[in-house]
């Protein structure tokens, strides 16, 4: 199978590889896929609670070249965007950008899921933190 130049570029020079402290209340972590299916993506983003802007994004992926490229691209795209803008990224945008063939579309779906899961995680954390923060202020 021939890979598009962009897939090869992301595979060879993946952007934003790594981890963010997952216990940080401003960090959302999305872990999607399954080892049995041959791909697992972990996307993390640090979101500014005031501005809702995604200030940092990191990923690690177990999967084929297209899965690695899709998640690498996702980190590039979400950085600097607001949460709502990031939620608007669709898998078809990724398919188009990377010229993924039909058998690799699931990689882009997984990347979209990872973005949504990370934001979901961040929102949950924020809700959990909010009452505690209020309690501190009352003291």
């Amino acid at each position: 199978m021939a890979y598009s130049d962009k897939v090869v570029d992301h595979y060879e020079h993946p952007r934003n590889v790594g981890s963010l402290p997952k216990d940080d209340p401003n960090v959302g972590t999305g872990l999607v896929g399954a080892p049995e299916c041959g791909d697992v993506m972990r996307l993390q983003m640090k979101i500014n609670p005031e501005t809702q802007i995604i200030e940092e994004a990191k990923f690690k992926t177990f999967g084929c070249g297209s899965a690695i490229a899709s998640s690498s691209l996702a980190t590039e795209w979400v950085k600097g965007k607001t949460v709502d803008e990031a939620l608007a990224i669709s898998n078809t945008d990724i398919v188009r950008e990377l010229s993924l063939p039909p058998v690799k579309i699931h990689c882009s779906v997984l990347a979209e899921d990872a973005i949504k899961a990370a934001i979901e995680d961040w929102k949950k954390k924020k809700e959990a933190v909010q009452p505690a923060a209020n309690a501190t202020a009352a003291d």
Partner: protein, 409 residues
């Protein structure tokens, strides 16, 4: 010596034609182009003589007689002829066939078709080492069993089946024994007398001969095996396989068999050494690597390794100057990981990370060292990228995670 890239290490898929084989074949394309079935002129006689010479060369390699070699277009056809031909011929005697789950598709799919025609097929399981249990085989035999078909060596994991014991059981019970010998021929000594083999499928292109040329050994004595032809026509090959013989291909097959006969003993020692060097090199530098299948009962030139937490296709992409193959789903048309590894009980997570290395006649130690280094480098790089490796290192039990797979899987 500088290494020429890309490096071919996929000799189970096919092999290059040995230059000595090519040289032997060449005259039969032009000067000696006759039809081996032409009985009344020298062109035909020359071609026939060449075919008979090749038949003898191939027979010698498996300790058979020349008349027992039936030429075909390749092992897929040989497997089809053996199974369908015997099933049809011995229908009165019974309708039960025994095979195993890790056969090549040419056997499995032929069995599936026979099931549609009313035959019953038992697919024996294999143990973790990739071998069938002989007690399972004994238990599966009924008074309707007409054929046992168990491959000599597996194409993915190189594991050798207990062929001699299977042959003995089949003989005792008066059941025909067919084996797909494609991966074993010319690599390990195959002896149809010692092993009580009644039929064995062979092909030229796995032993440095040309593609499109195969054979089926069909025992003529003790017992005399009869087959219903699956291709009708001029009655070539003792009526079992009609069609003008592929004379240059057959000449090449014969020469390739002769070379293997002369060089196998020495070459298998060399290849085993290279294979072990590769394995030891990888194991010395990487953790969490696992061998699939028995190391004791194995072809000398094969190794199949799972590189945990690194998906196979991404590994192949990283070592793109090395030709090997993967058991990962992403490299197959079905998006399912290898059914062979699954049958061994290898988890799907590990099956996705498996690579098959098949060494051969033209590989060198320098190439093995180059491949070792490339694989180590890419596995390490991809593990840096792998969330699973990080989690495993943190002590998280991945099998206990609640994975959220997408609907597409």
């Amino acid at each position: 010596m500088a290494i020429k890239l890309p490096i071919y290490m996929d000799y189970h898929a096919t092999t290059p034609v040995d230059p000595r084989v090519v040289e032997t074949m060449l005259p039969y394309f032009h000067d000696k182009f006759g039809n081996a079935a032409s009985r009344n002129h020298s062109f035909g006689w020359t071609a026939e003589e060449a075919v008979e010479n090749a038949r003898a060369q191939i027979a010698r390699l498996i300790n058979a007689t020349p008349k027992e070699i039936i030429f075909t277009s390749g092992a897929t056809e040989s497997n089809n002829l053996a199974l369908k031909g015997a099933a049809e011929m011995y229908r009165e005697k019974g309708n039960h066939i025994i095979t195993q789950v890790i056969e090549h598709k040419a056997v499995l799919d032929t069995c599936k078709r026979l099931e549609k025609y009313g035959y019953e097929v038992t697919y024996l399981p294999v143990a973790k080492d990739g071998r069938i249990d002989l007690d399972d085989l004994r238990r599966a035999i009924t008074n309707k069993t007409i054929l046992i078909s168990i491959m000599y060596a597996n194409n993915e994991i190189g594991v050798l089946q207990p062929i001699q014991e299977i042959g003995k059981i089949a003989k005792e019970k008066g059941i025909l024994f067919h084996t797909d010998g494609v991966q074993a021929l010319g690599k390990v000594p195959v002896d149809v007398q010692r092993d009580n083999i009644d039929m064995i499928s062979l092909t030229a292109h796995k032993l440095y001969g040309p593609k499109g040329c195969g054979a089926l050994y069909v025992r003529r004595r003790n017992p005399r095996v009869q087959l219903s032809a699956q291709i009708d026509g001029g009655g070539h090959e003792r009526g079992m396989r009609s069609g003008t013989l592929n004379v240059p291909g057959i000449v090449g097959f014969g020469k390739a068999a002769e070379l293997c006969q002369n060089e196998m003993a020495e070459e298998s020692v060399r290849l085993r050494g290279l294979r072990d060097r590769l394995k030891d090199g990888l194991f010395a530098k990487l953790d969490e690597v696992y061998i699939n299948g028995s190391m004791t009962h194995r072809l000398p030139h094969n190794i199949n390794i799972s590189f945990a937490f690194v998906e196979g296709e991404s590994l192949l992409m990283g070592i793109n100057d090395v030709a090997v193959s993967s058991g990962s789903a992403c490299t197959s048309a079905t998006l399912e990981p290898s059914y062979v590894l699954k049958a061994l009980g290898v988890g799907e997570d590990l099956a996705h990370t498996s690579i098959r290395f098949g060494l051969g006649r033209f590989n060198t130690q320098e190439e093995v060292d180059y491949v070792t280094n490339r694989v180590v480098e890419v596995v390490q790089r991809l593990r840096e990228l792998s969330p699973l490796y990080e989690m495993a290192k943190e002590g998280i039990d991945l099998s206990k995670m609640n994975w959220k797979a997408t609907a597409e899987h």
